[in-house]
């Protein structure tokens, strides 16, 4: 197995329009792979395809050696959607306890994750009263409950303050160090530097797959934001 996720010729049609035009890529195991691109580039659709909740028109998506969406994968993938998919009328702990029971993990694990995502003081508050960033962290924690082999995060750091963002990225690398594969989408280029590898997506096609260092070398610019622009312009010429 070369990749924790292997995508070959993935095409997805949504609302009568093709939004992914034959995407192929590998996600290396035990690494943090960043999926970057502007809003509307197809990041969420690609992520949904990996998780197996997206109807695909063509192509193969293999996750941990199995076809995406396989029943066996459901307990091995952690998934955080872009909009926090948590119950607003339950407390932080009640939310995590519910998802935990489905996954068969105990109350100890729930408390551990409440602490990990920095919500100890908020644990008995109803999620609807929390800030957007706090809600996102509850959602993230639900994806981590079962200690997944593959963690798929759709824009996990949107609306978070810089300190929290740094802490979460450190946490992601800690997880990768322990063997978890991470696929993290972002439209913020300054997060690209924190990834081991980058997949640059634009208008439903892969623009480049490289490490941040390779990308700087390839384009001859230091700022990843500028490097991305250089690639886009290069592609249009």
């Amino acid at each position: 197995m070369t990749g924790a996720v292997e995508i070959r010729g993935l095409r997805v049609v949504r609302g009568g329009q093709e939004v992914l035009h034959g995407v192929s890529l590998d996600v290396e195991p035990g690494r943090v792979t960043g999926l970057l691109g502007p809003s509307g580039s197809g990041k969420t659709t690609l992520i949904r395809s990996v998780v197996g909740v997206q109807i695909v028109a063509a192509g193969d998506v293999t996750v941990l050696g199995l076809p995406a969406g396989s029943r066996e994968l459901r307990a091995r993938i952690g998934y955080m959607t872009q909009e926090p998919a948590v119950y607003r009328d339950l407390t932080v702990r009640e939310n995590l306890a519910y998802f935990g029971r489905i996954l068969g993990v105990g109350a100890g694990r729930v408390d551990e994750l409440v602490e990990r995502v920095g919500l100890v003081d908020e644990r008995d508050r109803v999620v609807g009263t929390l800030s957007g960033g706090q809600r996102a962290r509850v959602s993230l924690a639900t994806g981590l409950l079962n200690g997944p082999d593959l963690l798929v995060l759709d824009e996990p750091t949107v609306g978070l303050d810089p300190v929290l963002r740094r802490d979460l990225w450190d946490f992601f690398h800690e997880l990768a160090g322990a063997g978890t594969t991470l696929l993290v989408s972002s439209h913020v280029m300054d997060e690209a530097a924190r990834c081991d590898r980058l997949v640059l997506l634009r208008e439903g096609a892969v623009l480049a797959i490289a490490t941040p260092g390779e990308l700087r070398e390839l384009t001859g610019v230091d700022e990843l934001d500028a490097a991305f622009l250089r690639l886009v312009e290069g592609g249009e010429q």
Binding site: V13, R14, G15, V51, G52, V53, Q54, I55, G69, R71, R74, A75, I77, Y79, T81, E83, P84, A85, V86, Y87, R88, D89, L90, E94, Y98, F99, R101, I102, L103, G104, V126, T142
Partner: protein
């Protein structure tokens, strides 16, 4: 399917309901007030109150649970939690049965309180034991839940879901036999009425209220109510898609 996930879902739905005490109060108090209204309305015609009181009492849970479930399920669909749940090791049946357990519990509470008001305070009488009426009310509640679950798939907004009440429930109340005995309806209305689950729910209640022994027709009614519940749950499970466009 696991008992753990089913129980977890039932507990979760009950926790959500507990956060909304006003809804619980409305579900329990409103039917009591309505039964009292009917009692007062027919103060001089005690016989009419006896005739409609028991069926009314047993049909409330169907209507309340239909509404509550269709909105809850719609929220589950639009908030993304349904997609999230279906990406987890959770059988669709776990989710549906979890809902059924939670709403049956709420319906039991409703049934017991309304029965106490109707039979205990307002002098309503039924030939069958009160427990039979409460059990029928709970069965009707689960039917309402199953119908709400299924129909919620056809609503995109809460406004639409609420409109299913006049569109789907009201015609059944009109035609079930409560207002006009079915035998007195035009023939085509009798046929339409025969296709509606409410008709059997009403007939069972009416027979339990007036007959001391419960005959074949009563059990046939119960079988239809249970059968339609199972059918609606199966159809409802079909509307829960793990993969979406």
């Amino acid at each position: 399917m696991t008992r753990r996930a089913t129980a977890a879902t039932g507990l979760r739905v009950l926790q959500q309901l507990r956060r909304d005490p006003r809804t619980i109060a409305l579900i329990v108090v409103v039917p009591c007030v309505l039964v009292f209204l009917v009692d007062q309305l027919f103060a001089d015609r005690e016989q009419v109150f006896q005739q409609v009181g028991v069926p009314l009492l047993g049909l409330f849970p169907l209507v309340s649970m239909f509404l509550v479930t269709s909105i809850t399920m719609l929220r589950e669909r639009t908030s993304g939690t349904l997609e999230r749940l279906l990406a987890l090791p959770l059988a669709k049946l776990d989710l549906l049965l979890g809902y059924a357990i939670a709403f049956a519990a709420l319906a039991t509470l409703q049934g017991v309180v309304v029965s106490f008001v109707g039979f205990g305070l307002l002098g309503l009488e039924a030939e069958s034991p009160t427990a039979v009426i409460v059990l029928l009310a709970v069965a009707n509640a689960v039917l309402g839940m199953a119908l709400g679950l299924f129909l919620s798939a056809f609503a995109r907004t809460e406004f639409q879901a609420v409109q299913f009440m006049p569109a789907f429930i009201l015609p059944q109340i009109l035609l079930c036999g409560l207002l006009v005995p079915r035998e007195e309806m035009a023939e085509w209305l009798q046929w339409v009425s025969a296709l509606m689950p409410f008709t059997y729910a009403y007939d069972a209640l009416e027979r339990a209220a007036t007959g001391a022994t419960l005959g074949v027709r009563f059990w046939a009614d119960v079988a239809v109510v249970v059968g339609v519940t199972v059918l609606a749950l199966v159809l409802g499970a079909g509307t829960l898609r793990r993969r979406t466009p």
